[in-house]
């Protein structure tokens, strides 16, 4: 025993290296649920405060610029608001006339990206909305440009979002022009591949790809990306379809979590139409919830 201790002391650097190496390998070999649990506990305790400080610093720097921009926007929106009020009146009158069914409302939560994977392949982002805000696992996360990903891990105040360029991401999609259905998976870089497209599938470069609504996570009709390459796969059974995602996943800062009203149902939007976002403004407004309107199938 004494001899072993002497050896450890004499080769302490090597011993320390071996212990750390074994600890790393042991962590790698842990069951996935244990890894998730460990990361959940430490992330919520360790990273959220650091991220909040970083975000606070950024906010202070951006405040002046944002204030100027918002002042301009208020003027512009006030003008648009008058026009919209007129259009809403006209819309209600016409809807009554042709007996449109009541449109269902689709609640989304705005959230801010407070962290991202330090890996240069940005596979996940951390947002400042969590279970206390009503966020749950497997909720769709979007921007005005298109789908960002889905929540894979939810903490009380934050949530981890798996983006479309994560190697484990799979999203059921449809080519909007020809209605050919495929599975979107990461291809490399900022490109994805639309898998399981049959050889005779009608897909062309420039076609818009939207969510199919089949997976139960993403509502139907959300913009995902554009086809940039079509070819034949080596095996010859399926077509090779490469898609560039619409949302700029390297720079995404503000996102919307689809938090209710849509799961299990489907948004029916024109494929070329982006979701129209409108703020629900209330007296003494504290809620930041936004409403995306769309027909429910």
């Amino acid at each position: 025993m004494q001899r072993l201790v002497d050896l450890l002391v004499r080769y302490r650097d090597q011993s320390l290296f071996t212990v750390l190496l074994l600890a790393s390998v042991s962590m790698l070999l842990l069951r996935e649920d244990l890894k998730m649990e460990g990361a959940r506990v430490v992330s919520s305790v360790l990273f959220a405060p650091i991220q909040r400080v970083v975000v606070l610093a950024r906010d202070i720097v951006d405040l002046r610029q944002e204030n100027r921009r918002l002042s301009m926007l208020v003027m512009k929106l006030a003008y648009q608001n008058d026009q919209l009020a007129e259009l809403q009146y006209e819309n209600e009158r016409l809807r009554g006339l042709i007996e449109f069914k009541e449109k269902s409302r689709f609640v989304v939560l705005p959230a801010e990206v407070i962290g991202r994977s330090p890996s240069r392949v940005s596979s996940s982002v951390l947002i400042d909305r969590g279970s206390r805000d009503g966020v749950e696992r497997n909720m769709a996360v979007v921007t005005a440009e298109g789908v960002v990903g889905k929540t894979i891990d939810v903490y009380p105040e934050t949530a981890l979002v798996q983006t479309l360029i994560d190697r484990n991401s799979r999203v059921s999609c449809v080519v909007s022009r020809s209605r050919v259905v495929g599975i979107l998976a990461w291809h490399g870089g900022f490109l994805c591949t639309l898998e399981m497209i049959p050889e005779q599938g009608d897909v062309e470069v420039g076609d818009l790809v939207v969510t199919s609504g089949l997976g139960g996570v993403f509502p139907k009709g959300l913009r995902v990306g554009t086809v940039v390459e079509v070819g034949a796969e080596a095996q010859g059974l399926f077509r090779r379809v490469i898609v560039r995602v619409s949302a700029d996943l390297s720079k995404v800062e503000e996102v919307f979590v689809i938090a209710g009203g849509g799961l299990g149902e489907a948004l029916e939007l024109e494929p070329e139409t982006r979701p129209a976002l409108s703020t629900t403004v209330t007296e003494g407004e504290a809620e930041r919830s936004l409403i995306v309107e769309g027909d429910i199938e």
Partner: protein, 164 residues
Amino acid sequence: MRKFAATILIVVAALSLQMSPLNIGEILGVRPDLLLIVLIYLSLAEGRKWGSVSGFAIGFVQDLYQAPDQLGLNALIKVLVGFFLGSLKGRIYLKGLSERWAIVFAVCFAHDLLYYLIYFSFRFPPFLSTMIRFALPGAIYSATVGSLLFILLDRLRMWRTAPT
């Protein structure tokens, strides 16, 4: 104590910048790997004990923050980097910018090579695509930033090792 506090400060600063949603210094989706640059510096300056401990700590924190299914991967590779670079303490002297650039480039590239090889479970199409798209330009970028950052870290080191 001063040395330990300064090391923690450097690592936390690098971590905050790396994790920042501002994408500081990002060019065409490529960012310098500040944590690896700090690890290279610490290992070469302080030896293999500090190198392997810093490598493990930095890698572990990085693992926790990234997708949890990779827990241990960064820690493993950074322990290796820290230990082997620490073993070179006193054997190589990085005085010139070009020498510093070369060592940071070589280490960053080797680190990414090993990391992505395991990350993609030896599947070569995504591995090669990522190496070309991210690792190679990332290593060049990190080497450029790192060789300049070393000057700043040299000054900080003089302060933290100064007698109190």
